[in-house]
């Protein structure tokens, strides 16, 4: 009797809660009603992708007025003037569209993926590198996009379009943003002669204090070195490592370990360690070097892309499959990839823009030349981050490769 009473209470509580949340959804301001309807349509489209030939994509987005979007982005991709007053691609957009943009930054693709997947309704838009984008698509966290709704899309470099990390089964899941290469930074006053290869950074005999990126995907950096130093291993793609190749990469990282004084995820921490001299050689991003050189007094650092080639990234702006703010999500992605703004971000972050018209609009006229925006040969030896899978991503079918779960475990073991 008593038990039944408790259950009845619980049931009625559930009904009340359910009613409240229904109520919340249906009282959205009328201006956003169209957009949320579109979002719902897109959401259900994403869910039924597997069943039908092509997803039904949104064709109308409705008004952007009053929508708020939360953007999960790499540091430097969404700047609102708080880092540097002149660096701002949020304020004007908000004025133009009536959208409100909140940004949260992340340090690794794994962090981004965890944030996005564990709170699936929190973020509307994400800048996903190749080692997060496919996981987001497979997990159903992001939705297919209607490329016709982006004014910027026709101007995106063809080399970035329709790639395995942004398009699945012919369905596009976002707009390419730009690409870059991981670089080698060193303290010019402490390290002479200047390093020219990654291999030097992996050899403790050089006496460097090494700062490396703290994520399983860094194993690929060791594989890039092995592609040059141990051709007999026959590594064709640093993300497709069979047992022998993987063991060699892990061994190389273990060899490097005595020299490692710092592993970074937070770029501010790496800056800190280079400033103080706790690290003097390391893997970095152009933006970190730019920020250090821009300090007063400027930190004595320089940066190169080593001779072996490098790992790198090609990023895509993607939209949450559950977003209620589709109009602003589309509008902001279009804004970020537009010629002028994409040029600004590319210069601020230090990468090649995704929009071909951006090259004419950069403050430094040779930016696109320096970053090889349209030089496909340059990108031949830049291995964009991608998620390793048991089916080798280089197309080999005679062996099994190590999947990302193995990479994760190996990374814990390397750190010891």
């Amino acid at each position: 009797m008593r038990m039944r009473g408790v259950m009845a209470l619980a049931a009625s509580a559930a009904i009340v809660v359910g009613a409240c949340s229904n109520n919340g959804a249906s009282t959205a301001p009328s201006s956003t009603a169209a957009a949320s309807a579109a979002a719902t349509a897109a959401g259900s489209a994403a869910a039924s992708t597997a069943a039908s030939a092509g997803p039904s994509l949104p064709t109308e987005l409705g008004s952007t007025q009053g929508q708020t979007i939360n953007v999960l982005a790499w540091p430097g991709y969404v700047e609102n003037g708080s880092t540097d007053k002149t660096v701002d691609w949020v304020t004007d957009f908000q004025k133009q569209t009536g959208c409100t943009v909140n940004a949260q930054i992340f340090g690794t693709s794994d962090e981004a993926y965890t944030l996005f997947s564990t709170s699936p309704e929190q973020f509307d838009v994400i800048s996903a590198s190749g080692d997060a984008s496919l996981r987001l698509v497979r997990g159903g966290f992001v939705q297919p996009v209607n490329l016709d709704l982006f004014k910027s899309y026709p101007d995106i470099f063809p080399a970035l379009k329709n790639k395995p990390y942004n398009t699945v089964d012919g369905v596009a899941y976002g707009v390419p943003h730009g690409r870059g290469s991981n670089l080698l930074m060193w303290r010019t006053d402490q390290v002479t002669p200047a390093p020219t290869t990654w291999a030097q950074m992996f050899d403790p005999a050089n006496g460097y204090k090494v700062s490396i990126y703290d994520a399983p995907i860094y194993i690929a950096d060791a594989a890039v070195v092995l592609m040059k130093t141990k051709p007999e291993l026959n590594i064709k793609n640093p993300y497709a490592l069979d047992d022998t190749q993987f063991a060699a990469a892990v061994a190389l990282l273990n060899q490097q370990k005595p020299a490692v004084t710092q592993r970074w995820v937070d770029y501010l921490k790496q800056m800190d360690d280079f400033r103080a001299g706790n690290a003097n050689v390391g893997t970095t991003w152009q933006i970190i070097t730019n920020l250090l050189q821009g300090e007063t007094p400027p930190a004595k650092v320089d940066v190169i892309k080593p001779t072996e080639g490098a790992t790198g990234w090609s990023d895509t702006w993607m939209i949450n499959s559950k977003t209620k703010n589709l109009a602003c999500a589309y509008a902001y992605i279009d804004y970020l990839t537009s010629p002028e703004i994409n040029a600004k971000i590319a210069e601020w972050f230090g990468e090649a823009p995704g929009n071909s018209k951006s090259c004419a609009l950069t403050a430094a006229k040779d930016h696109c030349d320096i970053f090889h925006a349209d030089d496909d040969a340059f990108w031949q030896d830049v291995w964009y981050w991608q998620t390793p899978t048991a089916e080798c991503v280089d197309g080999r079918t005679d062996v099994k490769c190590k999947g990302f779960d193995d990479w994760i475990k190996a990374w814990t073991e390397i750190k010891g």
């Binding site: 996981r135 997990g139 706790n278 899978t389 048991a390 999947g403 814990t412 750190k415």
Partner: protein, 301 residues
């Protein structure tokens, strides 16, 4: 104490308000009153605390999708198997326990004299000044203190600068830095229980010991120390468990992994493994608390 009030005839009042009648009713039903008072905190403890532990425990038996890293609800004991077969987890566990023991021992050595001085030697005025000095660091955020140790220990930092005239340099980042930072951070948690424990020892006992011919050292060893052991153990529960679970300090002042770091990184990448691994410090703490209970630490809290 708990006998219900006999039903006295209600005093002749026109119409007692609902509130008054409710209060009177509750007064007669003391068990219900207690239940109502405790319901909220107990529900909080049950749902938020024990509930999350149960969820954690369940997660430890699941697995993940190798590609998306999402939790797949398939029963497996693999996670526990890995903890035993992969040497890195053993190494990290041992390292963490050793670090926690070291930090605890150092904290006891530093805290005991301070607490003793505060409790038995200092004038009331000095005592309150010292109490404020011990408590003061607790007003600052844990993160600020951890970061300031990063600055102190950094190459060319404060410590290097201070030691330079003597031809020495600081330990730099590494295990020693972790040990120093933890010792600093948790010291107040050791001083306060020992201080409270020592203060409770009646001065008459010390006088009795002196009357019986006990010199200072004998009195300390035979009277004060045994009586303060529970307080020391109580303090060590704090320092030991806080060190066992921390992952921020090692990340700031070293590149070494401790239990907390491995759990933290795996929460993102392999939640079931993280859940399984987090049962390890839980088990260690359980054993520690059982031993502490035998040593009488809970009477000292």
């Amino acid at each position: 104490m708990t006998t219900t009030a006999p039903d006295l005839p209600t005093p002749a009042r026109p119409s007692p308000s609902v509130r008054r009648r409710g209060a009177a009713w509750l007064h007669r039903h003391s068990h219900l009153r207690l239940a109502l008072i405790l319901a909220l905190p107990l529900a909080w403890l049950g749902v938020a605390y024990l509930g999350s532990l149960v969820v954690l425990f369940l997660n430890a038996f699941w697995t993940t999708d190798p590609f998306t890293s999402l939790v797949v609800r398939e029963f497996t004991l693999d996670n526990f198997g890995q903890l035993f077969t992969t040497s890195v987890y053993r190494t990290v566990t041992i390292r963490t326990v050793v670090m926690a023991t070291l930090v605890t021992a150092t904290c006891i050595l530093l805290a005991y004299p301070i607490a003793f001085y505060m409790a038995k030697v200092a004038s009331p005025r000095t005592r309150s000044v010292l109490a404020v000095a011990v408590l003061m660091p607790l007003w600052a955020s844990y993160l600020i203190k951890a970061y300031s140790w990063r600055l102190i220990l950094s190459q060319g930092g404060v410590l290097d600068w201070a030691l330079k005239p003597f031809g020495l340099s600081g330990p730099g980042f590494g295990d020693a830095a972790v040990w120093l930072t933890f010792t600093y951070l948790w010291l107040p948690f050791m001083i306060l229980p020992i201080f409270a424990g020592l203060e409770r020892i009646p001065t008459s006992l010390l006088e009795a010991s002196a009357d019986l011919g006990g010199r200072g050292w004998i009195t300390f060893r035979r009277v004060i120390l045994p009586l303060s052991i529970p307080a020391v153990v109580a303090g060590s529960i704090f320092t030991f468990s806080l060190t066992l679970g921390d992952y921020i300090v090692p990340g700031l002042v070293s590149t070494t992994q401790f239990i907390g770091n491995v759990i933290f990184i795996n929460v993102a990448q392999d939640l079931p493994l993280a859940a399984a691994y987090s049962l390890v410090p839980l088990a260690i703490m359980l054993i520690y608390l059982l031993v502490a209970r035998r040593l009488g630490a809970f009477q000292a809290l």
